[in-house]
């Protein structure tokens, strides 16, 4: 079975549109990141801290019911835990995930209305700090920066410096796109999202390298045609592979998104977005950058 036969799509010719789209995406992503840096974004409890409320119920509470009850009253991203001693429930709510008002009061009203017949008392209500402290955030940023440099060096060595830059820009582009989508949909940025971003960075890079590899191969075989022709030809050659891989990963991430339930919903969304953008960027961002830069990699390397 085959989806597509031989294609002759002029990918390089579309770079004006694709660059325009990508610049908009990147700007949105940067706005999202700036808002995170300023602390005005929708940050999860991991980053912003919040309130922990401990409640003692008369009868055991089903944790999924409790989650639904809170969601009905606008508290979506609560972290719920049952304490093993005596029907106690620990509810943690992030600072920014509350519509307004006092977390403890909101939680009480929600439970009073939804869990009628199960009386409870609030045992304690305390402020909790972010689980991701400044140091952890800094360490992660440093790690990401170093790995980007490492990748740049590796690709520059295996291919050419321009390819390294292309791969790096494409990866950053995808990361920005994920931030852009989360910013536009006002989704919560938490540790899960960061994990998804790191996963996609790896995936997007893999995708780009595959396209680059074919370009390099064809550059060696064909020294007469223009770069644009060779780039187009190469991308078309690997197009069916690009589509199939995107499809298989999409099947996996998509089913997590559609059937996975509330807890991994946003995580799966980030993955789905990342996979789509990852494919787009390897064709429409990474390759055109290298082509525009317009140098043939030295023929001695392979």
């Amino acid at each position: 079975m085959e989806f597509i036969g031989k294609t002759h799509i002029d990918f390089m010719g579309m770079k004006k549109f694709s660059f325009a789209i990508s610049i908009v995406i990147a700007i949105l992503g940067i706005i999202g990141i700036v808002r995170i840096a300023l602390g005005t974004a929708n940050m999860g409890i991991d980053f912003s801290g919040g309130t922990a409320v401990q409640l003692k119920f008369a009868q055991p509470v089903h944790i999924d019911r409790a989650r639904e009850a809170l969601a009905k009253h606008g508290i979506h991203d609560a972290n719920l835990q049952e304490l093993k001693t005596g029907n106690k429930l620990l509810v943690k709510v992030g600072k920014t995930s509350l519509p307004q008002g006092n977390a403890a009061d909101l939680i009480q009203t929600a439970f009073q209305k939804e869990l009628t017949g199960n009386t409870f008392v609030v045992e304690s209500s305390t402020e909790i700090g972010p689980a991701i402290g400044d140091k952890l955030r800094k360490d992660t940023l440093v790690a990401v920066a170093i790995s980007m440099i490492g990748i740049l060096i590796y690709i520059a060595w295996r291919f050419d410096f321009t390819f390294g830059v292309g791969a790096l820009v494409a990866t950053l582009h995808d990361v920005l796109a994920m931030f852009a989508v989360f910013f536009l949909l006002d989704k919560e940025v938490n540790l899960l999202f960061i994990t998804a971003v790191l996963t996609i960075a790896g995936y997007s890079l893999t995708d780009t390298v595959v396209v680059f590899d074919r370009i390099r191969e064809n550059l060696h075989k064909n020294t007469k045609d223009s770069l644009e022709t060779i780039f187009n030809f190469s991308i078309n050659e690997v197009l069916s592979r690009t589509i199939i891989t995107a499809l298989t990963t999409f099947l996996a991430a998509g089913s997590l998104y559609f059937f996975g339930g509330e807890v991994i919903h946003d995580f799966a969304l980030a993955l789905v977005v990342g996979i789509l953008v990852g494919v787009y960027s390897s064709v429409f961002v990474a390759s055109p950058i290298v082509e525009v830069w317009g140098r043939r990699p030295k023929a001695s390397k392979a």
């Binding site: 079975m1 801290g49 944790i63 999924d64 989650r67 972290n79 835990q81 304490l83 093993k84 001693t85 620990l90 305390t126 402020e127 909790i128 700090g129 972010p130 689980a131 402290g133 140091k135 952890l136 992660t140 790690a143 990401v144 170093i146 790995s147 990748i151 590796y154 690709i155 295996r158 540790l191 899960l192 960061i194 994990t195 790191l198 996963t199 790896g202 995936y203 893999t206 590899d213 050659e237 690997v238 592979r241 199939i244 891989t245 499809l247 298989t248 990963t249 999409f250 099947l251 996996a252 991430a253 089913s255 997590l256 059937f259 996975g260 339930g261 509330e262 807890v263 991994i264 993955l271």
Partner: protein, 533 residues
């Protein structure tokens, strides 16, 4: 038969066998009685979201942080006055927020006042006043600075605790500050919570102090020893009976060297007595100090004190330069390992005490877990069906490779004692989608080669050969990311890096060795004439 087919199948089977062994405790319970000795007994660790764990609330004794800081200032003042040969009667902390300096005459006090003002501008100074024939002055830490120090102490304690848990093993803890002085730590179902609590809660203030040989420790009481000395206990555990004996020892109050000058601590085994000890290394300042102190005190005893307990008090036989030393004591291998961890992770700026220790249930209800797992299964099934339809028999081979991939990964995670969370499982599902990527690359190449009219065997080999470099390049780049994240990341980022790098390495193996072996086997042994791809 093609080269090394037996060898390759052997390797595949070996890995299946190993994964099976490591996964057995997770899936078989109770373990049969013969399953003991060297075979692994630990199940795959499930995260807080799936199975709950230990919920600890610790209180940082922040007042002690302020007192500690003042004690340091007092001893620093003492040092600098002695260095300038300025005579003083006494310098010491007299309340939780102030230091008192006492001099014999007004003149000295005035000189020192100027010096102190310059050196510690942030401290409030009570000017010299006459008191019982001497001249005293006091240094007080202001409310604001004390508050800042307290605040920093909690933040620092949090980082130190995180470091220790990181080094304790790959798990997915939650560590957050609660209120002003509390730190909440949640550990997913660990096997030995008591050991973990001890490790987290230990202050780990390491000091090297000279033994005061002028006093007989056996008869010494806190009242009879000189003011600059103190009575500490050396605990010795008899290795055969387990009985603990306490030997009193009088040491100088002032620490010659402290643990903050360490750069590394590792467990080593003494080859002569087969006893574990902790080898420590100092930074350059520490090394210089250690060199000086040992040179000046050959023949004397040097006590190694951790949290006011003496670990050992060896006699300095010769000058020790080079910046390394060792802490030996009669401890077990586990104790030595924990000691090395706390020394590496640094000491807590103030003692902490556990004020709440409870067991929490999973943060996800059964419904959520079931949903997540079901979604994962659906995803895997879709990929499997798609591959079988799109690539026919070759797709089945790729699916087999994928199953191997998951099995190996789970086995490796179990072997490493990593922690599995629901998002972690979701990531594995995504990895399944990605793991067929290598095979898709190869298959597309094979199809290209076949379109050029090559016979099956040649097309297959060419497909694998040409895809090889691409697969290597794409995997190595991801591996670079994973390695760096592991090296420089902490906490959850580190855990992610472990699964990612394992996934990549395993994927390389299954894609390049696993599926290839099956194709080679089919072509050479089953004499298949046509590739179903």
């Amino acid at each position: 038969m093609s080269k090394g087919l037996t060898w390759r199948f052997g390797l595949i089977l070996l890995f299946i066998f190993l994964s099976g062994i490591y996964l057995t405790p997770t899936f078989v319970s109770p373990l049969p009685s013969w399953w003991k000795g060297l075979l692994p007994k630990d199940r795959i660790n499930l995260g807080l979201d799936l199975q709950g764990g230990t919920h600890l609330v610790m209180e940082v004794e922040i007042q002690k942080a302020v007192e500690g800081a003042l004690d340091l200032i007092a001893s620093d003042l003492e040092d600098s006055l002695s260095a300038k040969t300025i005579r003083f009667k006494k310098i010491g902390r007299i309340a939780s927020d102030r230091i008192q300096l006492t001099f014999y005459d007004r003149g000295t006090a005035d000189t020192v006042q100027k010096m102190v003002k310059e050196k510690y501008p942030t401290l409030e100074l009570v000017p010299p006043y006459d008191e019982g024939g001497f001249v005293s002055m006091q240094l007080r830490m202001g409310e604001k600075e004390a508050q800042e120090r307290k605040d920093r102490a909690v933040a620092q304690a949090l980082e130190t605790i995180r470091n220790r848990i990181d080094q304790f093993g790959v798990s997915e803890p939650v560590i957050a500050r609660e209120g002003l002085t509390h730190i909440v730590v949640q550990l997913p179902g660990i096997k030995d919570p008591k050991r973990a609590i001890e490790l987290i809660g230990r202050t780990a203030r390491l000091e090297f102090k000279l033994v005061d040989e002028t006093v007989n420790p056996a008869t010494a009481t806190p009242g009879t020893i000189p003011e600059d000395s103190e009575l500490l206990m050396e605990k010795k555990t008899d290795p055969t009976t387990g009985a603990v004996t306490e030997i009193p020892l009088v040491v100088k109050k002032k620490a010659m060297i402290t643990g903050d000058l360490l750069t590394n601590a590792q467990v080593r085994i003494d080859s002569q007595f087969n006893q574990p000890y902790v080898a420590i290394e100092f930074n350059s300042t520490g090394a210089r100090l250690f060199d000086q102190v040992t040179a000046a005190n050959v023949g004397k005893r040097f006590a190694i004190v951790l949290d006011n307990n003496i670990y050992s008090a060896p006699v300095i036989r010769e000058r020790i330069s080079g910046g390394s030393a060792q802490i030996s004591g009669s401890f077990s291998e586990k104790e030595a390992a924990d000691l090395a961890i706390v020394l590496r992770a640094g000491s807590l700026p103030a003692p902490v005490k556990v004020i709440q220790n409870e067991t929490v249930g999973p943060s996800l209800g059964q419904d959520s877990i079931t949903k997540g797992l079901m979604a994962g299964l659906v995803g895997v099934a879709l990929v499997v069906v798609f591959m079988a339809i799109y690539y026919k028999l070759a797709g089945l081979v790729a699916n087999f490779g994928m199953v191997l991939n998951v099995l190996y990964l789970m086995g490796a995670l179990a072997a490493l004692g990593a922690t599995l969370t629901l998002p972690g499982i979701a990531a594995i599902v995504l990895l399944i989608g990605m793991s067929v990527d290598s095979n898709v690359l190869i298959f597309e190449r094979i199809r290209e080669e076949m379109r050029l009219g090559k016979p099956p065997k040649a097309a297959l080999d060419a497909g694998y050969d040409k895809a090889f470099l691409t697969i290597m390049d794409s995997h190595v780049t991801t591996l670079i990311t994973a390695a760096v994240l592991f090296q420089f990341g902490t906490g959850p980022v580190k855990g992610f890096a472990v699964s990612l790098s394992l996934g990549i390495i395993i994927n390389l193996f299954t894609a390049l060795v696993g599926t290839k072996s099956i194709f080679d086997f089919a072509l050479s042994r089953l004499r298949i004439k046509r590739l179903s791809i």
